[in-house]
């Protein structure tokens, strides 16, 4: 087991692209080797050592037994944990866009808020966002057919608009409220919203959305199917979205 701690030296305004900060890339590296790993700052290339103080405790070459702890002001650090397959990252504060994009395994914990596209096109693993999440949690890239396909994202606070857009598999749980159109064009997987949601399930063709806190603006293409018990609560069950050429194999459960 090894613990790599990256402490951001100072706040920045021009964002850092840090897709190289993953257990897969940093496992087994010495402090100096980690400091030399490339990050991109605006239009110039830099290294981790330019922005972070680095310490390594313990040893091991295996990403699965590597934990990365990130400290300091990370609000302008994008793409943390991109494509990671194992191990864990703990972000002790807020982080910028695309955290855990393409993630395949392992775990990311964001102690604060995560900006948009957390878990974009995720395949596996787990992301816990203890604060709020931005738009497009677990969504697709522009023009792409499928967003998140596997794994789990938990948002303890609120989430923004279009979460789980084009989600094809996996699970998103939001403890708070969400913005407009969660689960848009959903083709599989599950979204659970404990709070409220606006227009959930637009153009969904498969998969399941549970909204416990009530819906603002129910879409017109959903058919009421009766009531259903879920975890002791009585929920109204709808199927839809019939707007999509009358298919409507998606399930929407509303508290």
């Amino acid at each position: 087991m090894s613990t790599i701690t990256l402490s951001m030296k100072q706040s920045i305004t021009v964002p850092l692209e840090a897709e190289n900060i993953t257990p897969d890339n940093l496992a087994g590296k010495s402090v100096d080797e980690i400091k030399a790993v490339t990050v991109y700052h605006g239009n110039s290339e830099a290294v981790i050592g330019d922005f972070f103080d680095v310490t390594v405790e313990g040893s091991g070459n295996d990403p699965a037994s590597t934990e990365i702890i990130m400290k300091g002001d990370l609000t302008r650090v994008k793409r943390i944990g991109e494509g990671m397959s194992a191990g864990s990252i703990v972000i002790e504060g807020d982080c910028d866009m695309h955290c855990g994009a393409f993630m395949r395994g392992g775990k990311i914990t964001v102690k604060g808020n995560a900006d948009a596209w957390a878990g974009r096109e995720m395949r596996g693993g787990e992301i816990i966002i203890e604060g709020d999440a931005g738009n497009y949690v677990g969504s697709a890239y522009r023009g792409e057919l499928t967003g998140m396909r596997g794994g789990k994202i938990v948002v303890e606070g609120n989430a923004g608009d279009y979460i789980g857009e084009h989600i094809g598999g996996g699970e998103i749980i939001v403890k708070g409220n969400t913005g407009v159109l969660p689960g848009l064009s959903m083709t599989g997987g599950k979204i659970i919203i404990e709070g409220t949601a606006t227009m959930p399930g637009g153009e969904m063709t498969k998969g399941e959305i549970i909204v416990k806190g009530g819906i603002i603006d129910m879409l017109p293409g959903f058919k009421f199917e009766g009531e259903e018990e879920v975890d002791g609560a009585t929920l109204k069950k709808y199927t839809g979205d019939l707007a999509v050429r009358g298919t409507g194999k998606g399930i929407l459960l509303v508290g």
């Binding site: 890239y141 522009r142 023009g143 792409e144 057919l145």
Partner: protein, 566 residues
């Protein structure tokens, strides 16, 4: 600048040279007999030396290609390469940006590329993109078959006026030749309908066959370098091989004006289908090949399908919509007033889907069953069958039965039942391949004086691949073909070294060839035609006739080819 290429193993089918060790000399932008004290000597060291590739049917520039780029950012992100010292940033897998198109063709040894479908009203767009597509020489085929003027003249049989119209449009759009795409069917798509070859076009009492015959006759009356270039009716429909053969038959009696075909039928794979629905869909490549082998007035290109997620784009609007209803991903369509249309959708060809696997087989079968390589050009109808970057793998498949057998194991068993590929033993030779990618397409385009050959006086376009033909067995070592044909050791374009060891070394502007048909045939009925055309602009177009023709500013590297038939 003079260059001497020594010790190459040369394939130049136009001169009957089939793997001979010899030197090639370049002076300026032409091949010459010999050069004394050359500025640069390239020792090919026994590697394969061939003419620069000639692509006679590709979709690389213009409105519909760009609509594909705009519609597919997810495709754009697949091919990104940062800018280099000489090169601009690249993007795209099936819808490449113009720079990626140019560099990739050049790296693969291609030096001439023809955009196969230019709507006249949007011609400026194609030419603007050509200017940002460096290195290769280019030309565009202009869509003239669904134009109201053409349809009216085909109906009235006034071929002199049609000749005047074709001539005026060729100059106005700065086009190289006449393209026909689903004649009548694209006009019918203006009402959401389609036409087969003998259906009257809605609103016009004339059939597609009559349109085809009229344009074929006028093409020869004007003595254009290329023949009509046709995308037949019923593309992609099960059972369409009969329409295809009927289309070939329609022009059998028309006499070519030069030593070439009367009709070039494009992406024939998509037109060689048997069956009556997707369930009994089958290959009829044998029927098509039989016809081509027996007749000399038709040439084809293949339009090979390979398994990938690509983008289909064509002026055949109704076909694209019908294909879209099968996959329902996203669909763009752009009908062009009085002239043509277009449709664009993403398509993922899967080896596990029977229909796709049979399509894959048909493209290869055509190449293996047609005996004369001069009658067929290698194309993928980029990006419709797959991106042109699949050429090396397709060539490996055509040269190696072993490669085909290994691939057959991975495709749907429908191929064994309803295609012929598994029963064919033929393995093409280097000479076949070089004919199908150089000498043949150059001859089909009517450019054999300057393109597709290393002969003295031709344009000094040449490729050297890291393959030693004298000690290389393509039937066994097919993986090397796939690897080495992707990146040349040298590509020389117009006497300039543009690629060395697979890297771009220079990015000159390519030229744009366009044909200006003059002479009595073109001009006899011009006044009457112009009256008709002025009426079309006054009453039906939404741009002024004065703003319609492509201005000279758009072809700063244009090469005018004047034909004159009196």
């Amino acid at each position: 600048m003079t260059i001497l290429i020594k010790n190459g193993v040369v394939f130049d089918p136009a001169q009957g040279i089939d793997g001979e060790k010899m030197d090639i000399a370049i002076d300026g932008d032409k091949f010459v007999e010999d050069v004394s004290s050359p500025d640069e000597v390239i020792d090919a060291g026994g590697r394969m030396v061939v003419p620069g590739g000639v692509e006679l049917h590709t979709h690389i520039a213009g409105g519909k290609v760009n609509a594909g780029r705009i519609m597919r950012p997810e495709d754009g992100r697949k091919g990104r390469i940062p800018r280099g010292k000489l090169t601009r940033a690249c993007s795209g897998f099936s819808v490449l940006n113009t720079f990626a198109t140019a560099y990739t063709y050049a790296r693969m040894g291609y030096t001439t590329t023809f955009e196969a479908a230019m709507p006249p009203l949007l011609a400026r767009h194609t030419h603007e993109e050509f200017e940002d597509t460096p290195i290769t020489d280019k030309g565009a085929l202009v869509l003239l078959d669904n134009n109201w003027m053409t349809i009216e003249y085909a109906k009235s049989g006034d071929l002199d006026k049609l000749a005047a119209y074709v001539s005026w449009m060729s100059e106005a759009s700065k086009a190289y030749g006449i393209k026909i795409v689903n004649p009548g069917g694209t006009e019918a798509w203006g009402w959401g309908k389609n036409c087969s070859i003998n259906d009257p076009v809605p609103g016009f009492d004339v059939t597609p066959k009559e349109i085809i015959k009229a344009l074929a006759q006028v093409n020869e009356d004007l003595g254009l370098p290329h023949s009509i270039h046709i995308h037949c009716n019923d593309l992609g429909h099960p059972g369409n091989f009969e329409t295809t053969i009927e289309t070939y038959e329609a022009v059998k009696d028309i006499k070519p004006s030069s030593d070439r075909q009367v009709m070039h039928a494009t992406h024939t794979q998509f037109h060689s289908y048997g069956g009556s629905n997707w369930g009994d869909f089958e290959s009829k490549a044998d029927e098509i090949a039989k016809y081509i082998n027996k007749n000399d007035h038709i040439t084809i290109d293949l339009g090979v399908v390979m398994f990938c997620d690509t983008t289909t784009m064509t002026a055949d609007g109704p076909m694209e919509y019908s294909l879209h209803t099968l996959s329902r991903r996203k669909w763009s369509n752009h009908d062009v007033e009085l002239e043509t249309g277009s449709g664009i959708i993403p398509v993922a060809y899967s080896p596990k889907i029977g229909v796709n696997a049979i399509q894959w087989a048909i493209g290869l079968e055509l190449a293996l069953l047609i005996t004369d390589p001069w009658k067929m050009a290698l194309t993928t109808d980029h990006p419709n069958g797959c991106p042109f970057t699949f050429y090396p793998e397709i060539i490996a498949l055509l040269m190696s039965k072993a490669k085909r057998e290994s691939m057959l194991e991975t495709v749907s068993e429908a191929v064994g039942k309803r295609a012929l590929i598994a029963t064919i033993d033929r393995e093409l030779t280097w000479s076949d391949i070089i004919t199908m990618t150089r000498a043949g397409p150059a001859k089909i385009l009517g450019m054999s004086d300057t393109k597709g050959s290393l002969k003295v006086g031709a344009d000094a376009d040449l490729a050297i691949y890291d393959i030693m033909p004298e000690s290389f067995d393509p039937t066994k070592d097919y993986k090397t073909i796939e690897d080495k044909l992707m990146r040349t050791v040298y590509t020389i374009k117009g006497g300039e070294i543009v690629v060395r060891d697979g890297e771009i070394t220079a990015t000159p502007h390519g030229r744009t060839f366009w044909v200006n048909p003059a002479g009595k045939k073109a001009e006899a009925a011009r006044d009457g035609m112009l009256e008709d055309l002025e009426r079309m602009f006054r009453d039906y177009y939404t741009v002024s006739m004065a703003n319609y023709p492509v201005q000279d500013e758009y072809i700063p590297h244009g090469v005018e080819i004047r034909t004159e038939v009196n």
